[in-house]
């Protein structure tokens, strides 16, 4: 995922460097003269230098007028163009038959602004120009290349649907419609960038969503003034409130089932082309802590994994920091057996405990980062080299003590239990902050960093929703925070998104 983001950023740069679109065409309307119109479009698309833009001249026998169609062949479906557009046009003999009746394409619209027409062509439409007509007919024949619907890669579940979003917005919307077959589901579209004209789809359930929240999201999307926003990962950074905060405030998921269940709770989700994900707005801390499987597993199993996950979260945060604090400042807290064992293993280690842990922590992060970047065939090798050689050799060379290897490995392993990549980073960065303050101030440092972190989390809002809601401040909700309740008891939608209808179902009693 990180890989993807980085490459996207690079592309983004290239796009912004490209020359600006001709300003003079902005308000031009097309000329009734076909020759004149085609000349303008040849200029716009730099035909014939531009290889995949096709201008095909044809004549409509019934009308006895020359005509031409313009399309980009790499993003259109040749089958549709041939069967539904060219063939009917050429074989029509009735002079008074309208174009709508001749062409059997799915959608037909007319447009006379050259700039608008170009946008449509860029989106995979076929434009038809007829001599003497001062407007163009546009038929949708778009066929952008994309992956098929594949299995999830990051948010895997054992039990439950395995479908994941892909890079095509239409597919993604279809995956959501498949789950919410309701006329109340609204898919609004908006263009978020000036030049690349990237489409954004705002999806919500109109009988649930809070109008204020919706206006807020729309306003933020509208206020964007950039050339191009390739995908949601970039959009996320444009619309979030705190850009320097280590905590994410929008939830990024690749699972249509998860997105659908958020829509059903009154949230808003954003979909864009080129993003195999959706953005869920607003997001609270708990939504990062939860996983899709939590509701698919039966109650005891789900809560078991939830408890494991929160344990893993605390181990990640505290394990190495506690070790450093206790060993350097509070040795009397450790039982004698353990203290002597630690002292024995540290006897020949040349570094203070804090440095030792930092070395291993950084080594672990390096292995992790390198493991992400290496081409997949070498991946396992790197893992073995990293874990075995580094850990084992470091211990044998008395660079680190074996207990530190255990503690760092445990903390590192536990960090994987938080599936969401943004929250994962947040936790890992806080772990280093904890470690630093623990090595300077001991337990006092850990406590104060933790308290400061809690204060900070309480101060964050995601689109007006407090980050730790519904726990603090308390809201009416299904109380799905650290552990969940039975489905029958989850009566209310989350009160903090202020849905129009708070009750999901009648209660059990």
């Amino acid at each position: 995922m990180i890989k993807l983001r980085k490459s996207v950023k690079k592309k983004d740069k290239e796009v912004s460097e490209s020359p600006k679109q001709n300003k003079e065409t902005t308000n031009l309307t097309i000329d009734p003269s076909l020759e004149q119109t085609l000349k303008i479009f040849r200029e716009i698309y730099t035909v014939p230098t531009n290889h995949d833009v096709i201008i095909r001249n044809l004549s409509i026998p019934g009308k006895d007028k020359p005509a031409a169609i313009i399309f980009i062949k790499t993003i259109t479906d040749p089958q549709i163009i041939e069967q539904n557009i060219i063939k009917p046009l050429q074989s029509s003999t009735e002079p008074f038959q309208s174009i709508e009746d001749i062409v059997s394409a799915q959608t037909i619209s007319t447009e006379n602004n050259i700039n608008q027409i170009a946008t449509k062509i860029n989106n995979g439409n076929v434009a038809l120009f007829i001599e003497g007509e001062d407007l163009a007919f546009l038929f949708d024949a778009s066929n952008f290349e994309s992956r098929t619907v594949e299995k999830t890669e990051n948010e895997n579940v054992v039990k439950g649907p395995k479908e994941a979003f892909n890079e095509k917005a239409a597919t993604n919307i279809s995956l959501i419609r498949k789950r919410i077959k309701s006329e109340n589901l609204v898919v609004e579209s908006a263009i978020v960038s000036n030049e690349s004209k990237n489409d954004l789809f705002i999806i919500y359930q109109k009988d649930l969503v809070n109008e204020k929240l919706l206006q807020n999201v729309k306003a933020r999307v509208k206020s964007l003034d950039t050339n191009a926003i390739q995908n949601l990962s970039l959009l996320e950074q444009y619309i979030e409130e705190r850009k320097y905060s280590i905590f994410p405030t929008t939830l990024y998921t690749e699972r249509p089932d998860r997105a659908a269940s958020f829509i059903e709770d009154g949230y808003i989700i954003l979909i864009m082309d080129n993003s195999p994900d959706t953005l869920i707005i607003p997001a609270t801390f708990w939504s990062f802590y939860h996983s899709a499987e939590d509701h698919y597993l039966r109650l005891p199993y789900a809560n078991f994994t939830r408890l494991l996950r929160i344990l893993a979260l605390f181990i990640t945060l505290f394990a190495s920091a506690l070790y450093v604090a206790v060993v350097t400042f509070h040795a009397e807290m450790i039982p004698p057996d353990l203290l002597l064992a630690i002292a024995a293993t540290r006897e020949r280690v040349p570094f203070p405990a804090a440095i030792e842990v930092f070395i291993m922590e950084i080594a672990f992060e390096l292995i992790r980062e390198a493991g992400l970047r290496v081409p997949s065939p070498i991946g396992p090798t790197i893992g073995i080299v990293g874990a075995l050689i580094l850990g084992q050799a470091a211990v044998q060379a008395n660079i680190v003590s074996p207990i530190v290897v255990i503690i760092v490995a445990l903390g590192g392993l536990s960090s994987f239990a938080i599936g969401d990549i943004s929250m994962n980073f947040a936790i890992r960065i806080s772990r280093f902050m904890m470690l630093l303050s623990a090595s300077i101030f001991g337990l006092y440092g850990i406590t104060s960093i933790f308290v400061m972190g809690l204060f900070y989390m309480l101060s964050i809002k995601s689109f007006g929703v407090p980050y730790l809601a519904p726990m603090t401040p308390n809201y009416i909700s299904s109380e799905d925070t650290i552990i969940r309740r039975t489905l029958q008891k989850e009566i209310f939608r989350p009160g903090y998104v202020k849905p129009k209808n708070l009750k999901k179902r009648q209660g059990e009693n």
């Binding site: 009397e332 203290l339 064992a341």
Partner: protein
């Protein structure tokens, strides 16, 4: 501009935070020499000095992970004269390379001679001043000189000293053969000035035992005769402290009886024998456990204050050498029950008499219960528990409940086997 000034202010405030509070007094765990046990003695020739013996653990012994240096001994002992055990931490560094730490100090060993000294209490109170000494450290009394004790104490299997002391003291508590003897309890009882404190009694010197051949589990440390190839140290019985000064030693049996009467002490399993009521030749092995809490009624209003104690005891009969079928015979069980009760009551009464007449104070912690009868502390102090105790009217009743009769209740009929 204003933002910059604010940022500057924050940095200015943060810097002293690091400098003033920081980690400058931190020290890594391996830079300490951990004293596991500390012996305190009175040198014969000098009144104002004490002799300190440190038992320092070697963390590397028996540790496979550290690599190399497997031949180092598990411990190091140093003994020297000094003013007190606070300054001794520095003086020891003339010989010991690492800083002396009391973090792992789990046991304070005092020689009997010093414990019986009037001035013992002056030195032991240093433990309340020293930052690192934990209040749950144990106080142990040895018959001999502590240096000799520590040197002679050579456990064969539990070579790491902290492990040895921890295990043997814990086990002694469970079986009721040695008291719990926390340092904090010593200070509490000494300061309350009402009860007796019991400390662990131990020695490495075996003595020829002459008296009392009847009961094989009524002895104190040093009197236990054993052969074989093992450690010389015995932990048995308790040292009795009155007003911060040792006055006597209780045997194992007396210590266990104290466990039964003292509401603050619990022994998990006391294995002991009783005379068999059906055949005087044999003794019955039993496991005694407290069967609920003892019922202690204290009346301080009477001219002679009275204490009525009812001790509920669950007795499991473990052997049956007289081969009597009491498991199936309620009459015999009644006899058995009665004989246990009588035996226990007799022993308890003897102990009570001993504390009243000999010690003139109780080791049972009853003053804690009696305290509640008074509205104010001055009233309680005016009552003077310790002074009144020898004259008190004490009634002990034992309520025995028979538990299991071993794994197999049945016993073959001897006559049938030998026909």
């Amino acid at each position: 501009m204003k933002k910059q000034i604010n940022r500057g202010k924050i940095i200015i405030y943060l810097i002293p935070l690091f400098i003033l509070s920081g980690c400058w007094d931190q020290r890594e765990v391996e830079e300490f020499a951990y004293v596991i046990a500390m012996g305190i003695d009175k040198p014969k020739d000098d009144e104002n000095l004490i002799k300190i013996t440190y038992l320092i653990a070697n963390p590397e012994s028996g540790n496979a992970a550290s690599g190399g240096a497997g031949n180092e001994p598990p411990r190091e002992v140093i003994s020297f004269k000094t003013d007190d055990f606070v300054v001794s931490r520095n003086i020891a560094n003339t010989v010991i390379a690492k800083q002396i730490s009391y973090d792992l100090l789990r046991i304070l060993i005092v020689s009997e001679e010093f414990a019986r000294d009037e001035n013992f209490i002056r030195w032991i109170y240093d433990a309340t001043k020293e930052m690192e000494i934990r209040r749950d450290a144990k106080l142990m009394i040895t018959k001999e000189d502590t240096e000799k004790y520590i040197l002679n104490n050579q456990p064969k299997l539990e070579t790491r000293p902290h492990e040895y002391f921890q295990m043997i003291i814990e086990r002694g508590n469970e079986t009721g053969m040695t008291p719990t003897s926390d340092l904090t309890t010593f200070f509490r009882i000494t300061e309350a000035d009402a009860d007796l404190f019991l400390g662990i009694y131990s020695t490495t010197e075996k003595e020829e035992r002459s008296s009392n051949p009847i009961n094989p589990d009524n002895f104190k440390a040093g009197e236990f005769q054993y052969g074989g190839e093992t450690n010389n140290t015995q932990f048995a019985g308790s040292a009795v402290f009155k007003e911060g000064k040792m006055i006597d030693v209780l045997t194992i049996e007396e210590t266990r009886l104290t466990f039964m009467l003292n509401p603050t002490l619990t022994a998990q399993e006391i294995l002991t024998t009783f005379p068999d009521p059906f055949d005087e030749k044999y003794r019955i092995a039993t496991r005694l456990t407290k069967n609920g809490t003892e019922d202690i009624k204290i009346n301080t209003k009477k001219s002679t204050p009275s204490i009525d104690v009812n001790v509920p005891i669950l007795v499991e009969v473990l052997t049956n050498h007289s081969m009597e079928h009491y498991a199936k015979d309620s009459q015999k069980r009644k006899t058995l029950n009665k004989s246990f009760e009588q035996a226990l009551e007799k022993k308890l009464n003897e102990l009570i008499r001993k504390t009243q007449e000999e010690y003139k104070a109780d080791p049972f912690g009853w003053s804690l219960i009696a305290r509640k009868k008074f509205l104010t502390i001055p009233e309680w102090e005016a009552f003077d528990w310790m002074k009144k105790y020898p004259e008190m009217d004490i009634n002990i009743t034992v309520d025995v409940e028979l538990g299991k009769f071993g794994r197999q209740g049945d016993i073959p009929k001897l006559k049938e086997i030998r026909d």
